[in-house]
Amino acid sequence: MKLLLVEDNERVTRFVMKGLQEAGHTVDNADNGREGMFLAASEPYDVIIMDRMLPGQIDGLSIIETLRKSGNRTPILILSALSDVDERIKGLRSGGDDYLTKPFAFGELLARLDALSRRSQGSGTQTALEVGDLRIDLLSRKAVRGERGIALQPREFKLLEYLMRHAGQVVTRTMLLENVWDYHFDPQTNVVDVHISKLRQKIDADFERPLLRTVRNAGYMLSADE
């Protein structure tokens, strides 16, 4: 992926750029609002990572609003130290696609970037999803692995659907909380892990090749590859 990081903090920039480059991405960096605005408007990027508070007269949200007004649809992940729910809402309303609060784990950032780039490719109006021999029908809400039907509760189906839409990508616990349950808070205990292990029981227990894997220090990944 070709990414743009608009961030003025040197340490954060070095940490993020190094990580993203190691993950195989190309990253451009702008350390002020004006340069960020210029790069975002002139170069094609897969995802833009935008800090909210920037030097150079123009802040992150203004850049996003300007880009959106000029018809630029590049997915934007907002990076901010402002963690209030209201700030988050403001960020998303300005045209951002996702909001990550500092400090953050690199795995979280990477997973969210992957999800954003996937979203922009557009899944269209699919009626079925397939990962390996696991298949779900979005209309009849039925799941089948191999020849066998799998009975899922509505929320389990939603969880599986999200994992399948992001097959091959790391999905973090926070992403699952936000997207499957729409909970924007810390549930204190590892409830998401318990849901995952229940789902794993249903889709993987009796099969030779597990599809749902735990990615250490990051989250989970549903994938047919070994």
């Binding site: 209030d84 729910v85 784990a105 929320r155 939603k158 349950w181 810390d186 549930p187 204190q188 849901h195």
Partner: protein, 481 residues
């Protein structure tokens, strides 16, 4: 002594006194005028009639006849009551009760008020001078000295009234001033003590319910709020210092040890990962505190929407049910049907989640946690989370919702001690409260949302649309999970 108070009370009482005097004078002046006019008119009427009668006698019987008439009259009447004098053209006395024609009477006929020498004493009198044919002069008059007495009495009375008014006014002013000053002074003393830092003082109040009392009650209410806030801040700072010091100390020693010992790669990575976990713990505490602060400021109220508390609680129960299953805890949900409240769905869900999470944590293997949502008869909404675990001892219940408070039973369990504080803050934000009661055995945590909080409903905002859309419709009847 406050100059303002002094001048205020005095200005006030003097103002009242001046006002009273002006009112008194305004009342007395017309009275005085009417009295004067009536008496004057009546007196002149009598004198004129007398003059006419005497003139008639003169016309009928001539000067000698009138002299006889006057002599008779003077002999009958009391001295000086009436003045009668007949004089010839050169003003020599012919008859009457004056020894000589007075110089003070002007030459022209008419009515005059003059000073007459009556039996050696100059006396104010009203006289009518008439010119009779033949150059004779007639003087008919009346001594008004005794009316002057009456007049004097009137003025003395008025002056006395003014004096009494002034004295009573000044006395009243002083008394009122002292009474008010005493109370204001006690308020001042209290406020001074508070300014010095002792927030436990309260203004003295009575049951009189007067203005000063109402003011004192209001100020006391404000002080209660301030004291609570200050204590809250103090507690939080203490708790933060305590709770953050532990992971920070661990983190520090871990990193220092790493830089001192320089162990092998594997071990270094393990230590770094542990350090990151330490930092994450600190971040979690910070996030929880920030969220509490955010709730406490009350700004979240602007984002209130219509929330179905029953559906919201059912979803949270469903979310936590696998965690309960894992611990072999029975988690059940009961509701009396849809319950609409005006609120913040994220915060309400987090609050209910915290209660359920706590309950599952403490109830132990094989326990029971039951959640129920119902509408009270007064329109308020209650969300109850009850368990049959160890509960909280009565003396610890009031402390349980304090920030960073962790009961003895919770020492070994994960958590930062902010769960119940958050529930309480959320309940308060929604105009309600968190009550911790005994469930015999176990704990019964009840979030009461006041009916008043339901009135300010606003249309569902864009940010929570997903909440409703994502929710599958639940059966309103009890369901076991």
């Amino acid at each position: 002594m406050s100059k303002v108070i002094r001048s205020t009370t005095f200005a006030l009482s003097f103002g009242y006194i001046a006002f009273g005097i002006v009112a008194l004078v305004l009342f007395a002046a017309p009275l005085w005028y009417a009295w004067q006019v009536t008496i004057e008119d009546g007196r002149q009427e009598i004198l004129r009639a007398d003059t006419v009668r005497l003139t008639d006698v003169f016309h009928r019987e001539g000067a000698p006849g009138l002299k006889t008439f006057i002599d008779t009259r003077v002999g009958m009447q009391l001295p000086a009551e009436r003045i009668l004098l007949l004089a010839d053209s050169s003003l020599h006395r012919i008859a009457g009760n004056l020894t000589r024609w007075p110089d003070t009477v002007p030459e022209k006929p008419g009515i005059y008020t003059v000073s007459l020498d009556l039996s050696g004493v100059p006396t104010a009198s009203v006289v009518v001078r008439t010119a009779l044919p033949g150059g004779y002069n007639l003087l008919v008059g009346r001594d008004v000295a005794k009316f002057a007495d009456l007049q004097r009495h009137f003025w003395t009375g008025l002056g006395g009234a003014v004096a009494v008014l002034s004295i009573v006014g000044v006395l009243g002013g002083v008394l009122i001033r002292q009474a008010i000053l005493a109370r204001i002074n006690s308020i001042r003393q209290t406020v001074l003590a508070i300014v010095q830092g002792d927030l436990s003082h309260r203004l003295p109040t009575r049951s009189s319910g007067d203005e000063l009392d109402t003011l004192s009650h209001t100020i006391n209410g404000m002080l209660d709020q301030i004291e609570q806030l200050i204590h809250g801040i103090r507690d939080v700072s203490n708790s933060i210092a305590h709770d953050l010091r532990t992971p920070l100390a661990e983190l520090r020693s871990r990193l220092e040890e790493l830089s001192l010992t320089r162990p092998g790669t594997e071990e270094t990575f393990a230590e770094i990962e542990a350090a990151v976990a330490d930092v994450d713990r600190v971040i979690r505490i910070f996030n929880a505190l920030l969220r509490l602060a955010e709730i406490d400021t009350g700004t979240r109220r602007s984002g209130f929407v219509q929330v179905n508390a029953d559906e919201l609680a059912a979803e949270v129960v469903e979310f936590y049910s696998p965690a309960a299953e894992l611990k072999n805890v029975t988690l059940s949900f009961a509701s009396g049907g849809p319950v609409l409240v005006s609120g913040d769905p994220t915060l309400l869900a987090q609050a209910v989640g915290n209660l359920i999470d706590n309950a599952i944590k403490y109830v132990g293997e094989g326990g029971t946690v039951s959640v129920d949502v119902r509408t009270r008869s007064d329109g308020g909404v209650e969300i109850c989370v009850a368990d049959d675990g160890p509960g909280i001892p009565d003396d610890e219940k009031p402390k349980a919702a304090q920030r960073f408070y962790r009961g003895d039973t919770s020492r070994g369990t994960p958590g930062v001690g902010l769960g119940l504080s958050l529930v309480q803050a959320v309940a308060k934000l929604h105009g309600g409260s968190l009550e911790l009661a005994d469930n015999h055995p176990g704990l019964r945590a009840r979030v009461a949302l006041e009916p008043g909080a339901l009135l300010s409903g606003r249309p569902r905002s864009a940010t929570v649309e997903a909440q409703g859309a994502a929710a599958a419709v639940k059966e309103p009847s009890a369901m076991a999970l």
